[in-house]
Amino acid sequence: MTTTPHDDTATANLARTFADYAPSIEGRDIVAIRPRYGLMIDGEERDARDGAVFSTIEPANGEHIAEVAEGAAADVDDAVAAARRAYETVWRDMPGRTRAKYLFRMARLLQDRSREFAVLETIDGGKPIRESRDVDVPLAAAHLFYHAGWADKLEYAVPGMTGRPIGVVGQITPWNFPLLMVAWKIAPALACGNTVVLKPAETTPLTALLLAELAAEAGLPPGVLNVVTGAGATGAALAAHPGVDKVAFTGSTEVGKAIRRATAERGTRLTLELGGKGAHVVFDDAALDQAVEGIVDGIFFNQGHVCCAGSRLLVQEGIADELLDRLRRRIELLRVGDPLDKNTDVGAINSHAQLERIRGFVDEARDDGAQVHQSTRALPGKGFYFPPTIVTGLGGSEAICREEVFGPVLAVQTFRTEAEAVARANATRYGLSAGVWTEKGSRILWMSQRLRAGVVWANSFNRFDPASPFGGLRESGFGREGGRQGLQEYLTLSPVTA
């Protein structure tokens, strides 16, 4: 099969033009971003009492998007009071099937407006539109649907027990999955008859506010869902508020510990979903090409801003070189760039501060003598970007192996035996996730019984389903979200008496 030299050149040019993928940008026009956003309290949007605002930034270019009200203690007071009123007068005593109607309506509206939410999520947070479109928004809707279905069946959620709502719930959500984490939090809380004061992360408040707007459109009674935007001080005021019966927090281990101290004084119920340092354990019989894809998804999904990210790779020594060759080749293919481009695989780092933090970890590892391999593709000139990175030559005691980097950085170590793999995987203060890659079923079972992690994935990674409980062990937190186990965190349970 030969062609003339002229045709070869022409064909090669066509191939290059094709494979460069011309920009395919999702339009911004679908979402109307206002210059200023207020707090959502008791069904009304209003400014903070002291008029304070902060700016939310677009990570893709570092530019200001909008001003957002910064709630203080007085605003949290208002929101908690509104939530209490709604709890006692409307929501607590509403039949479950009626509460379900509101949640179903919100889920459907979210599906109807999915593109709008996806685009806003990507603009505000920097994640690729492919992910916000295919993962964040559909999963958020799925959580609303799933929990709507439970609202009138709560008496069956825990055998032998009957559940009542807890009261006013304070929820504090992170910036890595701004909308999805809000859905994870509010769906079970509302389904169980609680009312909510939500404090979304300060770098990504916009989709939470849009969801509050959508809740109003769905007719959710005023005060059932209140949103108080702001930074750490706002969250601290909410977590320590005496009118809050339960706090649910997703975020860093450091802040989680502070919240636990604050809530301990009053016996406020608490669930924490904190950091992680998840390990992929790849055995020499694994399906290598698929393991490579799983490792890539495990650490480069959402720029590695994932609490359950597989940020450590433990590979059996016999296949370490081959696996690393494949991984290095694979990260060259990852398209880092404009998050609104439908072909972007890795988007922008969420904030300048986070970018500096990631850079610090990698620089330190390099200074300590580790080998740092990074994708050589050019990064965009402005905005916050970090190349997909693989770090080898590590012993396990380095910060990059122990601390949560929360970025697109994979720390690689090797192991020889199953027992050593378990010991290394468990040598962490965290315990959120792990992945086992092997073709041997018995080994999957053996490993999953011994890995100390809230979730162990077999030949896959980062799989989520609203019916599956998610949560951590050790310093990754406690309590579960999703499934029947997740419902229990929003109910006061008592035994059924005859």
Binding site: M1, T2, T3, T4, D7, D8, A10, T11, A12, N13, L14, A15, R16, T17, F18, A19, D20, Y21, A22, P23, S24, D284, D285, A286, A287, L288, D289, Q290, A291, E293, G294, L333, K342, N343, E439, N459, S460
Partner: protein, 314 residues
């Protein structure tokens, strides 16, 4: 003669074609399907789309494999192969025409003097269920009649009953029989039962000397699919790394739309590299695909879709 055995790492082939044992990677079906689905959903727009459409035309093996094929039908198809769009003579011809052995001479005359190759199916296509010497005779005859490329079928019966050496040796014999012509080996993946079997069959076919490995005969309800294409591409990449040899990929059956074609180009480009996006290394075995490619190219050029009947049929 090769020996085939299993060890802890999978199936090892010790063959005549390679110096070292070939390792066949296990395949995880769900992860493979997911990766393939993502690759074929790349958003290909503007100049990349036009380039992909033109490239796809250049990579088509325009095919007719019907009991009702006649010299007239083959001549009409060859005319379309030479001028895919009669209104745009700048559009490059397709890579090859693919016919039954009895019509090779007719096709050869029709495309004489053009860059279009003639490919012939041979070797008891599509089942392969006849005696080896008859199959080899058919292959030799196709080459004698002027076929540049011969598409044979892999012995699925031997593969599924574990006679890997028979599978290998028959392909090796076919490779000898085609001489300087190119050998394209059809795995008929729809009959193999698992992606692991597809990967094993790919490695055997390549080790035995195939120039191209091809998904399907087009005679089954399930032909080329994205996960099968990905599985075979990964095998080609591994084989290249282990032996230094370049093997082509042909997707046949079920590729009917330009959108599918662009998806497959993305899959191949991101698995094997852009070096594979050339008719020397990549083909679509298809008939209806070509008109959709031409239609989409006209739309890109003029902003309007042609009316039904504006495009030639054969």
């Amino acid at each position: 003669m090769i020996t085939a055995s299993r060890d802890s790492r999978g199936i090892v082939l010790e063959g005549v074609a390679v110096d070292t044992p070939l390792r066949v990677q296990p395949v995880d079906a769900l992860a493979l399907q997911e990766r393939a689905a993502r690759l074929v959903s790349r958003s290909v727009k503007r100049e990349s789309k036009v380039a992909g459409l033109e490239l796809s035309v250049r990579c088509v093996d325009l095919t007719t494999l019907e009991g009702a094929d006649t010299p007239g039908k083959v001549r009409a198809m060859c005319a379309r192969a030479l001028r895919p769009d009669p209104d745009d003579l700048s559009l490059h011809p397709v890579a090859a025409v693919c016919v039954y052995g009895a019509l090779v001479a007719e096709a050869r005359d029709a495309v004489a003097g053009s860059p279009v190759k003639v490919a012939s199916v041979a070797g008891a296509f599509p089942s392969g269920q006849s005696h080896l010497h008859e199959r080899l005779e058919e292959i030799r005859r196709a080459v004698d009649d002027g076929a540049h490329e011969v598409d044979i079928v892999l012995n699925r019966g031997a593969l599924l009953s574990g006679r890997l050496d028979v599978v290998h040796d028959e392909i090796a014999a076919a490779k000898q029989a085609v001489g300087h012509a190119h050998l394209k080996t059809i795995l008929e993946t729809g009959e193999l039962g698992s992606y692991e079997m597809v990967r094993l069959a790919s490695m055997i076919a390549m080790a035995a000397g195939s120039d191209v490995i091809k998904t399907s005969t087009g005679k089954l309800p399930v032909s080329a699919t994205p996960p099968v294409a990905l599985c075979m591409s990964e095998a080609i990449r591994d084989f290249g790394e282990q032996t230094g040899r370049v093997v082509g990929l042909k997707l046949a059956g079920g590729v009917r739309t330009a959108k599918q074609a662009l998806g497959y180009l993305a899959l191949v480009a991101e698995t094997l590299g852009t070096d594979w996006l050339t008719p020397d290394r990549f083909r679509f075995g298809a008939s209806t695909l070509l008109n959709d490619l031409v239609l989409q190219l006209r739309f890109q050029r003029t902003g309007r879709y042609p009316r039904p009947g504006d495009l030639p049929v054969d």
